[in-house]
């Protein structure tokens, strides 16, 4: 017991040393709190297991936000910095990969019970893909809406390795009349009356080339908090479908009407996904593909910058058509220049971009960036609003002074 405590303290100490800060016990704040630019936006920075210090949105169930400066590290988000979002407090904290099994059942020819080893024996597929919470940036909704008050750090891109879900479903054999496939993870609600967190994909998407049961993330096992040992990866789609710690796959003959599909994670069925604040009675549809977004990663609002030539670094992504171009404006949108795109890691991943401008001492600059996808979607200059604060993708704006 003493030894265990010692281990935990040492591990947390390692994380704190990494951050260049005094060593402290795990779970203690490793730095002063961070004030996100939101009402009630103060967040503790705490190193959770397998994680560097991240912004604590909530502690039970755990929700951790990636500090935005991490995104300047490159087009792949390190596992120890990847955001965390659980829905149910009954999340297992110990998993034995050797005994973990995934059931495949429902409208199938053969029920299966697969081990992680069984998945590893199927043809492995590697895909770089952005995992973004539906409510990423919810804290910037105007007017504000209840829900997880994320700034822009509930996203990340990783290289995912796994088996195609299709290969598993073919082993099981879909029967005629299959319409959706439902996924459940090993997390459970505290109260029996709370709807268990389950999500479903239409059969076509479940059978798509790129839908994976992933057992590795950036070449390493997934951190437990990101869904060890296996999570669903649905490139191009919001993270709500990327079920973590997946242990149950059920083929359905009717569209899933469980709470998490029928009531939660739905957006207004309008072209932008937005409605007028206060609107009621509108039709809704399950949230789907990621909206096109871009960010500047090497500056932050309020920052003093040096006069002279400034290099701008940023990231962009969309729902899987790939990024066509990113435009940058140093003057609040009066003039725009085409950014230079970085290496292409595939149409689902973060796409790095750069631009440059010359800053004159004493002047203020409003920096904007605007991505256009290969599908022709462009970030809007006015944010679409919806009551759940989902899929925000307005053009980002940043004020700096030289």
């Amino acid at each position: 017991m003493v030894r265990k405590v010692f281990l935990i303290n040492s591990v947390a100490g390692g994380a704190a040393v990494w951050a260049g800060l005094p060593a402290r016990a795990m779970g203690e704040e490793s730095a002063p709190p961070v004030d996100l630019p939101l009402e009630n936006g103060r967040r503790r920075l705490v190193a959770y297991p397998q994680k560097r210090p991240l912004l604590v949105l909530t502690s039970r169930p755990v929700q951790l936000e990636t500090p935005f400066s991490v995104f300047d590290e490159g087009a792949f988000t390190p596992n120890d910095a990847f955001f965390v979002r659980w829905h149910l407090a009954g999340m297992p904290t110990a998993i034995d990969e050797d005994t973990f099994t995934i059931r495949v059942r429902g409208n199938v020819e053969r029920e299966l019970s697969l081990s992680v080893g069984d998945l590893r024996r199927l043809a492995p597929v590697e895909i770089a893909a952005v995992c973004e919470c539906a409510g990423n940036s919810r804290g910037f909704s105007t007017p504000r809406v209840p829900g997880g008050q994320w700034a822009n750090g509930a996203m990340g891109s990783a290289l995912w390795t796994g088996a195609r879900l299709r290969d598993v479903l073919r082993q099981s054999g879909l029967k005629a009349g299959s319409v959706q496939v439902r996924f459940n993870g090993a997390d459970v609600p505290v109260l029996p009356a709370t709807p268990d967190f389950r999500k479903s994909l239409d059969v076509d998407l479940a059978l798509a080339d790129d839908t994976l049961l992933a057992y590795a993330m950036n070449g390493r096992p997934l951190p437990l908090l990101n869904g060890f040992p296996v999570r669903l990866v649905v490139p191009g789609y919001f993270a709500t479908y990327w079920v973590k710690m997946i242990d149950d796959i059920e083929v359905l003959t009717q569209p899933d009407d469980n709470f998490w599909m029928k009531t939660a994670y739905r957006i207004p069925a309008t072209p932008t996904g937005g409605v007028e604040p206060g609107a009621t009675g509108f039709a809704t549809t399950p949230i789907g593909k990621l909206t096109v977004r871009s960010f500047i990663t090497n500056f932050a609002t309020g920052r003093r910058i040096a006069p002279g030539l400034q290099l701008i670094r940023g990231l962009a992504f969309d729902g899987g058509s790939g990024i066509k171009e990113v435009d940058f404006s140093p003057d609040g949108g009066i003039t725009w220049e085409r950014g230079l795109l970085g290496p292409d890691h595939g149409r689902y991943g973060f796409r790095a971009w750069t631009a440059a401008f010359t800053a004159e001492g004493g002047k203020r600059y409003t920096l904007l960036c605007r991505a256009t996808s290969n599908a022709g979607d462009v970030q809007p200059s006015v944010a679409a609003w919806n009551p759940s604060g989902y899929q925000r993708n307005v053009i980002e704006q940043m004020e700096v002074r030289a």
């Binding site: 591990v11 949105l57 008050q149 109260l191």
Partner: protein, 107 residues
């Protein structure tokens, strides 16, 4: 002995902060989460929030919200009962809403 412990700690640190069992392989993985924040300040008026809200979630779920109106807090509490199955007696819904408005509300 001390050296062995230090080595084990360093190895665990390199592997990313997980407590590995036995072989040191990637399985099984066991983690200990930092304690949840479970503070609802106040006297007896906070007891209902402590008793009901903390069953399923930490108190930072309340304090990280923007200041919500009484109608919004009321909708949240009713959602906890009707959707998530919280067993809050009808007579206690009003006092909980009042407490949440006093803690993190707006007119």
């Amino acid at each position: 002995m001390r050296k062995a412990i230090v080595t084990a700690a360093v190895v665990a640190g390199l592997l990313g902060g997980v407590a590995f069992h036995a072989s040191g392989a990637a399985s099984p993985v066991s983690v200990t989460l930092p304690p949840a924040v479970e503070a609802f300040p106040g006297g007896p008026e906070a007891d209902l929030a402590r008793r009901h809200c903390l069953t399923c979630h930490s108190s930072d779920y309340v304090y990280s919200q923007p200041k919500l109106s009484k109608a919004q807090w009321s909708a949240e509490v009713i959602k906890m009962v009707k959707v998530y199955g919280a067993s809050i007696p009808d007579a206690e819904v009003g006092p909980i809403v009042d407490y949440l408005v006093a803690q993190n509300g707006k007119p």
